[in-house]
């Protein structure tokens, strides 16, 4: 059975259908990229998983357990979540921010600290230099490293990323993507990664789900995506500069 599974999942506000019968399966170790235009429902789909929103229909299961059958607070503590705006607590140090969920689930303070320091090293921040800084003393890229470390802190079952690198410059963004790929190797669960950046989708995703107006337009591997014929997939592919696409899309120069 799949690790994360959406079965006919819908979300509506009154008469307005925002997500329409979404279904997909994700195995352990996979990264599903949700790719779609602004307003297509990507954030909504993510927020249904950790029950920041309650679905109107269908079922979402993690490792066979319906998310609806678990207490929402407990569920969220087992799901790492990274948002574009970082959302770091300004009155807490980097170390405290990273150890947030371990603190909520009452790990002993020593273990919290050790975990925070280990994770800082993992995401490329020197624990001695940055551990006691406050978020406003960090650059955007460093803040988002903290955001990623925080999401990983309590060994979550699932990682959710909502355009985590959207606010970063292209070079830092690329670095963070590489870091994400490394971090993912050591992480046992599955990830869902929202982006509207095609290059990011292709380099990070093991599969790419294309969302359009709340409907799943198609589910592709990165290789399949490059040949995809659906309208939104084509529209995204058309944004690649001619001959400058990612590996695989690159046409031989003449």
């Amino acid at each position: 059975m799949a690790y994360l599974s959406f079965r006919e999942v819908s979300y509506a506000v009154g008469e307005r259908v925002i997500l329409d019968r979404l279904s997909f399966d994700l195995e352990r170790g996979e990264t599903l990229v949700l790719l779609g235009r602004s307003g297509s429902g990507k954030t909504t789909a993510l927020r249904l998983i950790n029950r920041m929103l309650e679905r109107s229909g269908g079922t979402i299961t993690i490792d066979g357990t319906d998310v609806q059958s678990v207490d929402a607070i407990q569920l969220r503590r087992r799901i790492g979540y990274v948002i574009q705006e970082f959302g770091l607590l300004p009155h807490w140090t980097v170390e405290q921010n990273i150890a947030l969920v371990p603190k909520l689930i009452a790990w002993p303070p020593d273990r919290q600290r050790q975990r925070a320091r280990d994770l800082m090293a993992q995401v490329g921040l020197d624990p001695d230099r940055f551990g006691h800084r406050f978020p406003h003393e960090l650059s955007g890229g460093q803040r988002q490293r903290v955001g990623v470390a925080r999401a990983l802190a309590a060994e979550p079952a699932l990682l959710l990323f909502d355009e985590p690198f959207g606010a970063l410059d292209p070079v830092t963004r690329h670095e963070m993507q590489q870091q994400f790929i490394q971090v993912r190797e050591q992480f046992g669960g599955a990830s869902v990664f929202v982006t509207h950046d095609l290059a990011e989708a292709l380099s990070i995703g093991s599969r790419i789900a294309v969302l359009e107006s709340g409907k799943l337009e198609g589910l592709f591997t990165p290789e399949q995506f490059l040949q995809a014929e659906t309208p939104t997939a084509r529209a995204f592919l058309n944004t690649l500069p001619q001959g400058l696409g990612p590996p695989g899309a690159r046409t031989p120069r003449t």
């Binding site: 950790n50 920041m52 607070i73 407990q74 569920l75 969220r76 503590r77 087992r78 799901i79 979540y81 948002i83 705006e85 970082f86 959302g87 770091l88 607590l89 300004p90 009155h91 947030l100 969920v101 909520l104 689930i105 925080r150």
Partner: protein, 209 residues
């Protein structure tokens, strides 16, 4: 001036300043409990927020002398004396505390609330770990306004037999005695400045955390 008169005036200043401080301290503490409490609850319930702000606003628009007067004939909470004075001071200082509590909490960055909730904070944890620490400088600013205003308003307590430095002022006004007026007004002004300075300092300290 006759040294005997001086000595009795000095003794009056000391004891009336004490009374004044009691009026202000007791009423401010009650107002803080009610204002911060209802303010927090108001950030969770829109109806309560609107109703409480409206009520506090109306209370604030009643001239303070009139508010003291209104309470006089009311049974249980009214009547001549310190208790009535404290109740009117509480009612009078609710608005800045209530409003700043609500503003401080509701202006916390929504991204923080979003991230904190998504990490699995309960509503209580969100309040105590995120919202209150971040709103603290704003809440304290409201408390400062309330306390400083209170020190001035408490002068009027003397009119309804509530004691305090107003006793000297009203006595001085009645007997056209500038010395007595000053003996009441100067300590009240000093108290207000001290309170403003101390609370302002605390506010800046907390703001830097």
């Amino acid at each position: 001036m006759d040294p005997v008169v001086w000595r009795s005036l000095a003794a009056d200043i000391v004891s009336l300043t004490g009374e004044h401080l009691v009026l202000v301290a007791v009423s401010s503490i009650i107002a803080i409990c009610i204002g911060v409490g209802i303010g927090i609850a108001g950030t969770r319930h829109r109806r309560l927020r609107n109703v409480s702000i409206t009520v506090a606003n109306v209370l604030q628009t009643i001239p303070s002398l009139a508010l003291f007067g209104f309470l006089l004939p009311i049974p249980v909470i009214g009547g001549i004396g310190q208790r009535t004075a404290i109740i009117s001071l509480v009612l009078y200082s609710l608005l800045p505390i209530l409003r700043n509590t609500i503003v401080g909490i509701t202006t916390v960055d929504p991204a923080l609330r979003e991230a904190s909730t998504a990490m699995g904070m309960t509503d209580r944890q969100l309040l105590t770990l995120v919202e209150l620490p971040l709103a603290a400088p704003t809440i304290l600013a409201g408390i400062r306004i309330a306390v400083v205003t209170n020190i001035g308003t408490a002068v009027i307590a003397a009119v309804i037999g509530g004691g305090g430095l107003g006793v000297l002022i009203f006595r001085g006004v009645a007997s056209v005695d500038t010395t007595q007026i000053l003996a009441g007004a100067v300590p009240a002004a000093v108290l207000a400045l001290l309170a403003d300075g101390t609370l302002g300092y605390l506010e800046r300290r907390i703001g830097r955390l």
